[in-house]
């Protein structure tokens, strides 16, 4: 079908003036892809799917959403009421909002799987270091976008989440107060904060779209890794992306949409995990909810923050836990990529996944003394993984890698 399209006169006319045909051939239809990729390689195309969904639903929400903390006659705020209006009165508003709210969580599920794949199969290693680093930039911008977006409904969790996170920056020595003021735009989180968060919430996903372009460009320079983690023969061991992987990715998208639709139509709040219960209560700046926690996808980092007695140290370690991802490619000195052939690394990376899940759980539950210790242990394991990496190749006996795939 694509061939037919590319043979039409209109396409030829455009191609003569833009060279679009060779771009499509090089990056899509004839792009050489390892023939042994497993389903873990589906999450990249899924991430693009969700990004498109978020941008699309977001643009339509923005047609009705009003970023104002001014009080209404009903005693709520303009922003809170506009979201309720989207839910009740706007045609299909409920659908678009739930697609957007569920999409935010889905985005993180997909991207965390995508990153876990990279960790397990050593995709971050030479020559794909830059590809991994761009990915970490994408993660940070996503977290920013989600944080800004979560303020917009102006519910209790929106409000107090923003209070806590903007106060985090206050801990930075010297510049802290200044940065806090830039974020908040006043003495406390309020109307100016909401306006600028909306502006940035619109901007960040568009930035993402551009950076994802760079991510794919970098991928197509160094090519995909594969489950064996070995360099492959580009003539004999690859198959063209189309139709083999277009169809496999399309299948993945179908499975994903099935799960997505279940949540959108039957369980949009996911029991408080996707939309927290307290966020149906309008923001009240004079009362903190009894239990505040970020949405699930930010809880691992929140636990690291809480694991330290000193505020400054907590903030530094939380920053470090993300920043250390940037240098991961240079910490790992082993020549072997895939965990399939690295027995010690395999144990380590699985333990690391367990630690992240544990951190996530602890950050969501209310802090009890026991959970605090559990969180501290998981924090230690998280950092221990990175600190041990530079030395593993010295004693790890790797298994022989296959000749080809």
């Amino acid at each position: 079908m694509i061939d037919k399209l590319m043979n039409t006169a209109v396409f030829k006319w455009i191609d003569d003036r833009s060279n679009i045909g060779s771009i499509i051939r090089e990056h899509v239809t004839e792009y050489p892809t390892p023939r042994n990729l497993n389903y873990m390689w589906n999450f990249g195309s899924l991430a693009i799917t969700v990004l498109v969904l978020q941008i699309l639903t977001g643009i339509f929400l923005a047609m009705y959403y009003k970023p104002s903390a001014a009080m209404t006659i009903g005693g709520y705020t303009v922003a809170f009421d506009s979201v309720e209006r989207i839910m009740r009165d706007v045609n299909f508003g409920w659908l678009i909002r739930y697609m957007h709210a569920v999409g935010a969580s889905a985005f993180f599920v997909v991207v965390y799987m995508h990153m876990g794949r990279g960790l397990y199969y050593g995709s971050y290693k030479n020559p794909r270091e830059l590809l991994w680093i761009i990915g970490v930039v994408i993660l940070l911008i996503m977290q920013g976008a989600a944080f800004f977006g979560y303020l917009l409904p102006w519910g209790q969790m929106s409000f107090w989440g923003a209070v806590v996170i903007t106060n985090l920056f206050g801990a930075i020595p010297v510049l802290g107060d200044f940065i806090g003021q830039l974020l908040v735009g006043g003495f406390a989180v309020g109307d100016p904060t909401l306006n600028r968060f909306f502006s940035l919430h619109y901007l960040f996903p568009l930035l993402l779209a551009a950076i994802v372009g760079g991510h794919i460009h970098a991928l197509h320079v160094v090519h995909s890794n594969n489950p064996e983690g070995i360099d492959i023969d580009h003539d004999k061991e690859t198959i063209p992306f189309h139709p083999y992987y277009t169809i496999k990715d399309a299948f993945g998208v179908c499975v994903f949409l099935l799960a997505y639709c279940y949540f959108v139509f039957y369980n949009p709040s996911a029991g408080g995990y996707f939309i927290e219960v307290d966020n149906y209560v309008p923001a009240n700046n004079l009362q903190t909810p009894a239990h505040i926690a970020p949405v699930w996808y930010l809880t691992p980092w929140y636990t690291i923050l809480r694991s330290f007695e000193s505020k400054l140290l907590g903030v530094i370690m939380m920053g470090a836990s993300l920043a250390i991802l940037f240098v991961l490619p240079f910490l790992d000195r082993s020549k072997v990529r895939s965990a399939r052939y690295r027995p010690v690394y395999r144990q380590m990376v699985i333990l690391f996944f367990v630690a992240v899940l544990t951190l996530g759980y602890c950050g969501h539950a209310s802090a009890t003394p026991v959970l605090k210790v559990v969180g501290q242990i998981a924090t230690a394991v998280y950092f221990g993984f990175f600190l041990l990496l530079p030395f593993v190749h010295k004693f790890e006996k790797t298994k022989p890698e296959p000749e080809g795939i």
Partner: protein
């Protein structure tokens, strides 16, 4: 030699134009970043008047100043008594750590520990100095009313629900809390016997 470019002149021009370009870019950034700082009308709405005689003995009232919550407590003699005796358990018993926890009128040791102009009326910013949540008022001593949420030697005070900071009845932070400082005091003065002007 005549058509050989003068390299040092070129380098000078490169550096000079890049430098001036950088300064220009910095100058352009000033209004943009400046626009994100609090606007004039936000800064203007910064004083609040409050009649403290409306606060009953032992009662806590939360009012707003600059969009921030403020605690006003009318401390009973018993509550004032319970601000003493646990100095070892406080990070900063005399409120000296940073400017925000003290004020010009704290000119006697007593005012430094009670943190109030009139001893019974404690007026402090209600944002936990950790990450800004509003601490819960748990004024009675011991665990009788509060269960395990407070330590067994609890003298009464505030407990922050977010990450578990504790403050005593003078809003001084206790050891082991993630919050680094006592609750902040803001500028206020009495304009009559029962009216305070905050800001």
């Amino acid at each position: 030699m005549a058509d050989q470019p003068d390299q040092s002149r070129r380098n000078f021009l490169y550096v000079a134009s890049a430098g001036l370009g950088g300064i220009a870019a910095g100058a352009v950034a000033v209004p943009f970043i400046g626009s994100m700082l609090p606007a004039a009308d936000t800064l203007a709405a910064s004083k609040t008047e409050f009649d403290i005689s409306t606060v009953a003995e032992g009662q806590l009232v939360v009012i707003q100043w600059q969009g921030k919550p403020v605690f006003v407590v009318n401390r009973t003699a018993d509550m004032l008594e319970r601000t003493k005796g646990h100095e070892d358990n406080l990070k900063d018993p005399n409120s000296e750590a940073i400017d925000a926890v003290q004020a010009g009128w704290m000119d006697t040791p007593e005012k430094r520990t009670l943190r109030a102009i009139k001893p019974e009326y404690l007026i402090v910013v209600a944002s936990c100095t950790h990450l800004g949540c509003i601490p819960l008022f748990k004024p009675t001593a011991g665990q009788k009313d509060w269960g395990e949420s407070v330590p067994s030697d609890w003298p009464g005070g505030w407990h922050c629900p977010c990450h578990g900071s504790f403050y005593d009845l003078s809003a001084r932070v206790m050891n082991g809390s993630p919050a680094p400082f006592n609750l902040y005091v803001m500028p206020y003065k009495y304009t009559s016997d029962s009216t305070v002007l905050i800001g």
